[in-house]
Amino acid sequence: MILEATSPLIAVVFSVLVGSLLMVLVGKSPVQVFGVMFRFCLGRADSFGTILFKATPLIFSGLAVGLALRAGILNIGVEGQYLTGAILAAWVGFGVKGLPGFVHLPLAVAAGMVGGALWSLVPALLKVRRGAHEVISTIMMNYIAQHLVHYLIADVFMDKMQMPIPGLGSARVRTPLIAKTAMIPKVHGLLALLGIALPKHTYANWLLPFGVALAVATYYLVWKTPFGYEVRSVGHNPGAAEASGIRVAETRLKAFVLSGTIAGLVGLSDLLCYFGYMDVDFPKGYGFTGVAVALLGRNSAAGIVAAAFLFAFLDRGAEGIQALASVPMDVIVILQGVMILSIVVAAEVVGRYARNLQRKEAARG
C-alpha cells in the first residue's frame, strides 16, 4: 500500500528530468529555470491567487473523471460536458434578470450542472442500453458540443448590443454579459481574514472552497455509502456485482450522469468570475487535464485536489519561465504529458511488484 503510493512521486521526478533535458537542449540551466519558476510561483501574491484560480476547474474536472472511473467508465467527455454546462449557465446568467444574487447565482450554477448532466446522459444511455464504448461516444459528443456551442454563441446568443472595443473594428463573437447577480464572488475577503492579501487582478473565487468540499463529499460517497460500494463493485467486476443483485446498468448510468453533473461545474469559475460572458475562445482542454489530475491523484479526493494544485502551479510556472527565463512555456506542457504517461507506467510496474509481494505474503501466512 505504501509502495503503491510512491508511483506519483516517481512520475513527477521522471517528468522533471525530461523537462530539464529539454531546457539543457535550448541552452538553459534547469536548476536556474526551476529556481525562477519556484520564486515566481511562491514569491508573489498574484501568482498565489492565479494558482488558486487555475486549480479550481481542474479539481472539478479531476473529480468528474475520477468518479466515473470508480464505476469503470472512462469519461473522456468532460471536455464537452463542461462546454454545454457553461453555455447553459451563461444563458441563465444573462437571460434571467431581476433576481437577487442569492437566487440567481445558485440557479446559474445549477444550470451548469444540468447542462453537464444532460450531455453525459447521451453516452451513458448509449453505453448501458446499446453497449457503445463510452470513450468513442464521448469523443464524438465533445466535437458535437464544440460545434453546437459555437453555433449558439455566434448565431443565437450573439451580443449585438455590445460596445465596440476601441481599436478593434468588429464586435466580438460572444454572448451578452452575465448579470452581476450571477457572478461568483472572489475569496479575497476570506483570505484577508487569514492575513493573505490577494491583488485585485486575480480571480480566486468561492468555487474553490466549494470544489474542496465536493472532494470531501465524493470521498464519503465512494467509500462510506452503499451506493459508493455498488459503484466500486461494478467498476471492479460487473459480473460479480450483477450476480450479487446489484443493478449494474442503473449504477453505471447514475455514476456516469453524476460525473457529468460535476463536469458541468468545470467551466463556471472562468465563466462566472473571470470572463462574465462566453465567447468562441472559451478555455479548452480542462477535460483532458482532468484525466491527468485523476490519475496523478490516484483517484483519491485529497490526491485529486493536490494534483489540481500541482498542475495549476505548473501552468503558472510556465508563464513565469517564459517571461523571466525565456524558456518556451511549452516545456511545461511536454512535462505534463510525460507526467501522465509515466504515472500510468509507474503505477502499473509498482502495482505488479506490490501484488507479487502480497501474493508471497499471503502464501506464507
Binding site: 446499446r130 461516444s137 464524438m140 466535437y143 460545434h147 511549452d330 516545456v331 506542457v333 504517461l341 500510468v344
Partner: protein, 309 residues
C-alpha cells in the same frame, strides 16, 4: 450543363482533398486496432506529421518532408506501443497523454526552430500531376488536373492495406492477435511484436496524413491544423467496420461533409456548424446500432498478459 458538371467535379475534388488525411489516418487506426491496440493518440501523431513534414520540406524539399513526417509519427507511436504493449497501461490514457505531449513538443520545436509557435514559413509542395487525357476534358479538369501525387498514393495504400490485412499471413496473424491473443499465443504467434508492428504502422500512416495537411494542402505548418481529424479518422474506422476499403469510403464521405460545410457558409440556410457535426453524429448513430452495426476486434483495448507474468 457543363457548369453543373464542373461544380460537381469541383465538389468531388474538394471532398477528396478533405478526405485524404482522414483516409490515411483511418488506415492507421485500422492497423492498430486490428492488432488490439486502441490509438487515441492518432491526433498527436498527425500533429507530428504535419510539423515534421513542413520542417523536412523547409530543410530539403517535400520528399524529405514526407520521410520526416513518417519518422515523427512512428516515433510517437513507438511511445504508445511501449506504454500499451510492454507496460500494459490503459491505452486510452496513453493516447490522451500523447496528444498533450505532441501539442507541447510541436509548439516547443516550432518556437525553437522557426521562432514562431504557431506557424512555419511556406514550404515546397510535391510536383502535382495531370492525369493524361482525362485532365484535358474540361468538366473533369478539377478532378484530374493538378492532383497531388499523394491522392493516388493514398488510394494505393488503401488497396495495399486491404490486401495486407485480408490476404496475407501477416494480416491473418495481426487479426488473430487483435481478436484472441491467448489463442494466437498458444499456436505460437508472437503477440507483442505484432502489436508493435500494428501501432508503428498506424503512427507512420498518421504521420503521412499530417504531412499531407502541411505540405500538400496548406503549404505550411499552422498550429491546430489537424482540427480533430485524428478523432474523425477513428470515427471513420468505426463507421467503416474496421475494414480498409469501407473506412476509406467513409473517409471520403466525411471529407465531403467538410467541404460542404465551407459552401454552406456562403449559402447560409443551414448553420455550417451542423454540417460539421455530421461525421460525429453519424458515428454515434453507428455506435447506437441505429445505422448498421459494427463490431470492433474482440480484444481491442485489452492489454495482453501471459498468466503468471
Amino acid at each position: 450543363m457543363s457548369l453543373v458538371g464542373e461544380f460537381v467535379a469541383e465538389m468531388m475534388a474538394s471532398a477528396i482533398r478533405m478526405g485524404i488525411p482522414i483516409l490515411l489516418a483511418a488506415l492507421g487506426a485500422i492497423f492498430s486496432e486490428r492488432s488490439g491496440v486502441i490509438n487515441i493518440g492518432l491526433e498527436g501523431m498527425m500533429m507530428f506529421g504535419a510539423f515534421f513534414g513542413a520542417l523536412g520540406s523547409y530543410l530539403g524539399g517535400p520528399v524529405l518532408g514526407l520521410a520526416l513526417a513518417i519518422a515523427g509519427g512512428t516515433a510517437l507511436a513507438f511511445v504508445h506501443a511501449m506504454g500499451s504493449v510492454t507496460f500494459r497501461v490503459n491505452q486510452i490514457v496513453s493516447g490522451v497523454a500523447l496528444n498533450i505531449l505532441a501539442y507541447g513538443c510541436v509548439r516547443f520545436s516550432s518556437i525553437t526552430i522557426f521562432k514562431m509557435a504557431t506557424t512555419s514559413p511556406h514550404v515546397a509542395k510535391l510536383a502535382s500531376i495531370d492525369v493524361p487525357s482525362l485532365s484535358r476534358i474540361p468538366v473533369l479538369r478539377p478532378l484530374f488536373g493538378g492532383v497531388s501525387p499523394m491522392v493516388p498514393l493514398a488510394v494505393c495504400l488503401a488497396l495495399a492495406s486491404y490486401w495486407l490485412i485480408q490476404r496475407t499471413v501477416f494480416g491473418l496473424r495481426l487479426r488473430a492477435v487483435g481478436e484472441n491473443p491467448l489463442a494466437a499465443d498458444t499456436v505460437g504467434v508472437p503477440v507483442p511484436p505484432l502489436r508493435y508492428v500494428g501501432v508503428l504502422l498506424s503512427g507512420a500512416l498518421a504521420g503521412l496524413a499530417g504531412a499531407y495537411l502541411s505540405i500538400e494542402h496548406t503549404g505550411m505548418y499552422v498550429e491546430g491544423m489537424t482540427q480533430g481529424k485524428g478523432y474523425i479518422a477513428l470515427a471513420a474506422t468505426i463507421f467503416g467496420d474496421w475494414s480498409p476499403l469501407r473506412a476509406s469510403a467513409v473517409a471520403m464521405l466525411f471529407g465531403f461533409a467538410e467541404s460542404l460545410s465551407f459552401r454552406v457558409v456562403e449559402g447560409g440556410t443551414i448553420p455550417y456548424q451542423f454540417i460539421k457535426m455530421i461525421p460525429y453524429a453519424m458515428t454515434l448513430a453507428v455506435l447506437a446500432g441505429v445505422v448498421g452495426r459494427s463490431r470492433p476486434p474482440a480484444s481491442s483495448g485489452v492489454p495482453y498478459e501471459r498468466e503468471g507474468e
